[in-house]
Symmetry: C2
Subunit: 179 residues, 2 copies
Amino acid sequence: MRAAIDLFAEQGYDATTVNEIAERAGGLTKTTFFRHFADKREVLFAGQELHSRVLAEAIEAMPEPASPLEAVAAALDALTATFAEDRREMGRRLRTVIDKSMELQERAAFKRSVLAEAMVGALHERGVGDPSASLAAELGVRAFHGAFARWTDSADGRALGEFAREELAGIRAAISELG
Amino acid sequence: MRAAIDLFAEQGYDATTVNEIAERAGGLTKTTFFRHFADKREVLFAGQELHSRVLAEAIEAMPEPASPLEAVAAALDALTATFAEDRREMGRRLRTVIDKSMELQERAAFKRSVLAEAMVGALHERGVGDPSASLAAELGVRAFHGAFARWTDSADGRALGEFAREELAGIRAAISELG
DNA sequence: CGAGGTGATGTGACTTGGTAACATCACGCT
DNA sequence: AGCGTGATGTTACCAAGTCACATCACCTCG
């Protein structure tokens, strides 16, 4: 993964070949790469099934009298807590690489929808119906996304969770102005 | 496009080759296919730049004292008006094909985000800030998506716009229950 | 009527992502 | 010493996508 992101940053995603990545990652080959990652893009998004699980479990673990948005907020707390400060720089580089490639943006959009889907499932478990469940989930994903962007761009040592809570608060406030 | 959707429905997306599509579309070749569509998936999503334009222009054309959600509602009216009844069956087949392929779902997610981005841009033009603009846009996209699904599954002759207005109303109602 | 231009298509060669079958090697266990 | 097992390599293959060049139909203009 480090080899890949380095090469993507240096030469761009399209100009980088899977063989190059494998080679830089310690003299490996294409075959080995594809044993670890389903496709070339996935090297930048691997391990997100874990994020889905964290979100879903946090929602399911929420004590009963909780509103959908409260459950989602708890899920964001659980997820953001897994992002230590030392992943911030890597996240920033990741974001700049993704921003330059439509293919990668496409995968990112899909991954966001998968995260949302995980939360929707968990919310359904607790009896939240649609469209409330999808709505709460999408707002949560949007909050996380915005928080991640601000976190990776930030210089001070504020934690990702702090940004996420701010984003969610901003969203809740904006909702009333929608008309 | 018809050849492609037929083949995808018959054999699945992965099992269908671009050469087959081109061949079925009147004895053409791979090369010609790629002159019309940027890639294999795009054959199912071509022409959506038009949708983006319709949405954006409707929002920009909205008289001044309109809330973000009112503008988005107008945009949905404009877009849904372009979907005549005779596209319903095609839409249904499109949806069942996409539902079976992760690759196609990925492209669909991306296209949704592009539509949302178009509305965000137009809302910004009229001075709507963030996160209100993104929020209104995403709700609009979600409404359209839900409406499209119900429309393609429906048997009666109700128009897509009718479903869209219902979806939007449902979303507005659900917002207050989010907590 | 014929010459040249234009747009859509075909051909062939190429790169790369991605898959599959089989071979190899290192390691640990018994 | 021998036996699995997991990670890797090799080779061959298919299909997506690109590119340069050729062809053909059709249209227009002199």
